[in-house]
């Protein structure tokens, strides 16, 4: 069953076409990553899916009653808006205190429940955003460059956490990212976007695709291989019981 089915999507901003002829499906429980250079229409794709941008042409079909969890890149609030982590978690969820607290605990940040959001670190902030997004038990998580501002170990940890979320809840994940090497190793499928879908498939097949290499340079593929090695290694130690994707 497709959670999201996109057919021949075209999105314009003014006279400029940012997306044309994009086909994309996301199935239950899979991790799909969209990569592409700046201005390739990655964010427009997400905005079209959540209904923030209306497409010029094409069709986006969401599964009936699809519950979406959204992890934004950042929040535009300045220090004039007081907001505790606790209040933020409650914002759009009718969920009791205990559930919020255990969600934060799971996200590895239980001690910041009473902190002001403006005072927590970038890594904690991303974990709070993720914890909030999964509170409603979504069918699919959308992440818009969620690790921007985190260092490499920080984003690696974050993606590790996303894999955990998928394993525990079987929630599908569609993410946009710049962190090519980290992301690709956690994905089931990679979509390389540049106005249209240049290439797509397993991380390994996309990394060796000539279009992908032309876009990101051959060097990336090397890093990917290197990282995958580390990553596999890590899995051997800590997550022996991990099942392949359901």
């Amino acid at each position: 069953m497709n959670l999201i089915r996109i057919e021949n999507l075209c999105v314009n901003y003014g006279a400029k076409a940012v997306l044309h002829g994009v086909d994309l499906n996301v199935n239950a429980g899979e991790i799909v990553t969209v990569v592409g250079p700046n201005g390739s229409g990655k964010t427009s794709l997400l905005r079209a899916i959540i209904g923030a941008t209306s497409p010029q042409k094409g069709k986006i079909t969401l599964k009936d009653n699809l519950k979406i969890g959204y992890v934004p890149q950042r929040l535009n609030f300045d220090s004039s808006l007081p907001m505790t982590v606790e209040r933020f978690m409650h914002l759009s969820n009718n969920i009791n205190k205990k559930e919020c607290f255990s969600a934060l605990e799971k996200a590895g940040a239980p001690d910041i429940f009473k902190s002001q959001i403006s005072q927590i670190s970038g890594g904690q902030f991303q974990r709070v955003l993720l914890a909030r997004a999964i509170l409603n038990k979504p069918d699919i998580l959308l992440l818009d460059e969620a690790t921007q501002g985190l260092d490499q170990p920080g984003s690696a940890l974050f993606y590790k956490h996303i894999e955990d979320v998928r394993r525990e809840t079987n929630c599908a994940i569609l993410m946009i990212s710049h962190d090519l090497h980290v992301v690709m190793s956690t994905s089931d499928r990679v979509i390389c976007l540049n106005g249209h879908v240049c290439c797509s498939g397993t991380p390994a097949s996309v990394a060796s695709d000539p279009e992908y290499k032309a876009m990101f340079g051959a060097g990336t593929a090397g890093t990917l291989a290197l990282y995958q090695h580390h990553h596999d290694h890590d899995h051997d130690h800590s997550n022996k019981e991990v099942e392949p994707n359901a």
């Binding site: 905005r47 923030a52 004039s80 007081p82 914002l91 759009s92 002001q116």
Partner: protein
């Protein structure tokens, strides 16, 4: 009780302070101060038009305020930066309003009453209109509170939660226009933004959640209205500006207290 002009003035002041509190918080959070000012200045044009057509000043001010909001939305993101555009529109509408009023010969109009308010002249009818507007604004704010908070934090997050940030923004603008229209009599078009921003900004010092900021802002606003009227009575000063002065003094006091509190804790 409502026969007493002082009672009516206090009730009018408290009403405007209550509506301005939650709305003022959003004006601060969403950085809409200049937008609010454009709407408020446009209201003087509305006042001039209603005097000319001999219709209700509330209705005229509300209409032109909404018209201004609509024009701003249409023109935004086209050729000029938002603050430039708002600066042009705010001050042109103020100037046109003042010129329009000067055409109204025959009746002598006390322009100062519309620019700085005339809270001591609030009639029972005015009071009814003010509170009608205040209750409407408070209901709208209560209804859309969480939705507006989410779309203030991140528009995409709001869309993903099934909300409609565009509609909520219209509701916020409508509330702003209503507040401006009913506050003309109390503090006047030039000082309305002060009643929106100063209590909210003062409340920020000790607030830990958005809700507590709105409640503290309401308390500060009400105390300013009450204290301002008292002070105006004692010192024989104009009431509207005195109310704003009390709010400004509370802003400074709260900031000093906040600073001391922080220093002690460290």
């Amino acid at each position: 009780m409502l026969d007493d002009f002082m009672t009516r003035a206090v009730l009018a002041g408290i009403g405007v302070a209550l509506a301005a509190a939650p709305l003022g918080c959003f004006v601060v959070w969403r950085r809409m101060a200049y937008f609010g000012e454009a709407i408020a200045h446009a209201a003087i044009l509305g006042v001039a038009i209603s005097l000319m057509l001999q219709i209700s000043v509330f209705a005229g001010a509300l209409m032109v305020a909404l018209l201004m909001a609509w024009i701003v939305t249409l023109l935004s993101g086209k050729n000029y930066a938002m603050d430039t555009l708002l600066g042009v529109l705010a001050h042109s509408s103020l100037a046109f309003g003042l010129v329009f009023v000067s055409f109204l010969s025959g009746i002598r109009i006390d322009l100062m009453a519309y620019l700085f308010g005339d809270i001591l002249a609030v009639s029972q009818y005015d009071l009814a209109v003010i509170w009608l507007g205040v209750i409407l604004v408070l209901l709208l704010m209560y209804w859309r509170w969480s939705a507006l908070l989410i779309s203030t934090l991140n528009e995409e997050m709001a869309y993903a939660s099934g909300l409609n940030p565009k509609r909520d923004k219209i509701i916020l603008t409508l509330s702003l226009a209503i507040t401006v229209a009913v506050a003309i009599k109390v503090v006047g078009v030039l000082l309305i933004i002060a009643m929106l921003i100063i209590p909210a900004a003062s409340a920020r010092i000790f607030a830990r959640t958005p809700e507590s900021m709105a409640i503290i802002a309401a308390i500060i606003g009400c105390l300013s209205a009450f204290g301002g009227l008292e002070a105006a009575y004692i010192f024989d000063t104009p009431a509207g500006p005195t109310i704003v002065c009390i709010a400004a003094i509370s802003f400074v006091t709260f900031n000093i207290l906040g600073f001391i509190y922080k220093s002690i804790r460290q």
